[in-house]
Amino acid sequence: MKVTFPYMGTVVIYKKLLELLGHEVIVPPRPSQKTLDLGVKHSPEFACFPFKTIMGSYIEACEMGAEAIVTSGGHGPCRAGFYSEVHQRELLQLGYEVDFIVFDSIYRDKDRFLQQVKKLKGNQSWLKVMKSIFFTYQMVREIDKLEMKLQKIRPYEVKQGETTKVWQKIEKVFDKVMIKQELKAVVRQGYEWLDAIERAEVSPMEQIKIGIVGEIFVVMESSINMEIEKVMGELGCEVERSHYLSEWVKDNMLPSLFKNSHEEEILKKGEPYIEINIGGHAKQTVGQIIDFKERGYDGIIHLMPFGCLPELISQSITPKLSKEYDIPILTLSLDEQTGQANNRTRLEAFIDLIKNKKIRQYSA
């Protein structure tokens, strides 16, 4: 079966898992202006930005011959829960009869989850499936660790752009990995490349650490968030995201046996501000802001798709959080109309604000 998936973050991972399960994988092109144009054209006007981007991505994948789409469902009352349905209808109207394999959280409906796994499993043995899942999970954990390290190196690189190039190399070698020994080798190789990047010495006063929180798709997919991590890195800021694929897999796909409780902790931190689950990642956003502050971060960038309901709620809480926890928060709302220049101005001013705050803290 020729399968494809929504493009989000480190796509080598989904590709690997599906390949190990014996499928022919069609990786859609990284979202570009063409993707957005297609997506906007074929989406309801009021749908959110992730919906439109993914719509465009699906159309491109279908043009490339995809027969089935593997995707995840939504959380709680967020509209994302209906998205696969609407996407499928729209694709059908365009003449693409594709099968949808939707994974909701395993905790919501175990039977349905297993049913979907069976669809994907085909003739493979359960042992092989378990092994494949476990292997890609290890892989995604390693690649996420590498990325986290890389995000702490980029602001100090001497040769501008070198870190980004190293990352592209890392993604490329990870793509070739099939077995455990190879994984070990590329991980070692990855760290060697990272360590070889020439770095400038910067005093702790001038080191700025920024946490990026918000709705998962705009946080994880750099092509639609103006490459915020790269931009912030080049402006001299260490960054960490609130979402990494390995975390997501751990929280939604693995039985609780393998879990540690970081996610639970985050949710607990958000609890005093958003009591009930309102869908999307609003509660996490609030919890993550507090968590970043407690871990010594200097500022927060909050990303939301324009018109995202859950994040609108968290946005209205941010002034209060910013005051109570004494941490600057900048909310950017993104969609296909986003003006880069305007946001660049905001980011630069935000960094100035944090720099001044730090200088004052150190001189006090």
């Binding site: 202006q33 002034p319 910013s322 220049a341 101005t345 905001r346 001013a349 100035d352 604000l353 004052r360």
Partner: protein, 330 residues
């Protein structure tokens, strides 16, 4: 010769050039409509500046700001290129040291800046819509057949409150037409527009944030007394308008350049007034490297490529870097 520092603010609607002395006092200011040609506007400003300071003052530092800061910075050889939020705040804090809240309304954007102990602690910029900005007022003044300069005094002569929907430019316009047809007087409608603009500004930008006095109101729109009155009515407090409210961004850029030069002790990178004669040509092309089809801006100085930007992948920017861009244009 005494030391002067130059600040240039290239905005969407106006281009401002100022010079300040070492005590941040204004020596020269120039305000012109950009009219879509930022390069010409900056050149004009520099020519005027040259006439006023040449021979008496030496330019020891240059800063640029505003949406055209990159282009202007490259053109004049700026020591610092700063975003307009920081630049505005720096200038205001210099003028009104105890300021807590800055309202800035320019041609196409509006900002609110929160200051505490002379430090920016928070800010917001208008996002999706220009209903709360100078261009909106400009347009409505034209509709009503009133010169924008008379707008403020007419608003002050209003006797009745007229409520106009200010959420969106298009709706505001149709609402205004309806009010005209009801028979309200021009001053009343203009006053209603001012109130609507301020209401919209406060609702959009100050959302959920506490407004602390003293308040300072600046930007081109601050020339409009009707808006000042509307602000005072809305927040119930006095609002100060700095003397040089229309060039605050440029003043801030000048101050930042001065501080930078004093801090680093470096010599300025200002190209000098004779740079006015160099041929400075920005062009754009669509890059076909991938399906992003970025609009790439290419700037040449005397025929040599000096800078490129606008490419999402950074390919062209890197090419320019690798070309070793020590361009000699003197």
């Amino acid at each position: 010769m005494r030391k002067a520092y130059v600040g240039i603010d290239v905005g969407s609607v106006s281009t401002n050039v100022v010079a300040i002395d070492e005590r941040n006092d204004l020596l020269f200011d120039y305000y012109v409509r950009t009219n879509g040609s930022p390069i010409e506007s900056v050149k004009k400003g520099l020519e005027k500046l040259k006439k006023s300071v040449d021979g008496k003052w030496t330019v020891c530092g240059v800063g640029t700001t505003g949406s055209g800061r990159q282009l202007a910075g490259l053109m004049v050889g700026a020591d610092v290129i700063k975003n307009e939020i920081t630049a505005h705040a720096v200038a205001t804090i210099n003028e009104v040291p105890d300021v807590r809240t800055i309202f800035e309304i320019g041609g196409q954007d509006s900002k609110i800046i929160f200051v505490k102990d002379q430090m920016v602690v928070d800010f917001a910029m208008n996002t999706v819509c220009a209903a709360g900005t100078g261009s909106f007022l400009d347009h409505q003044a034209e509709r009503l057949g009133v010169a924008i300069e008379d707008f403020g005094s007419m608003a002050l002569s209003s006797e009745n409150d007229v409520r106009i929907a200010g959420r969106c430019t298009v709706f505001a316009e149709s609402d205004m037409i309806a009010k005209q047809q009801f028979g309200f007087s021009k001053p009343d409608i203009i006053n209603g527009l001012c109130l609507a603009l301020v209401r919209n500004y406060i609702n959009n930008l100050a959302r959920g944030k506490k407004l602390e006095p003293p308040f300072v109101f600046q930007g081109g729109v601050a020339a409009n007394m009707g808006i000042k009155a509307a602000f005072e009515k809305e927040i119930g407090q006095e609002v100060t308008i700095p003397k040089y409210h229309h060039v605050m961004g440029a003043i801030g850029a000048g101050i930042i350049a001065k501080e930078e030069i004093e801090r680093t002790g470096k010599k300025t990178t200002f190209r000098g007034f004779h740079a006015l004669q160099t041929e400075f040509l920005p062009t754009s092309f669509i890059c076909n490297g991938c399906s992003n089809m970025c609009e790439v801006i290419k700037v040449t100085i005397n025929g040599q490529v000096a800078a490129m930007w606008g490419d999402r992948c950074g390919m062209w920017q890197e090419k320019v870097r690798n070309m070793n861009t020590n361009i000699n244009i003197s």
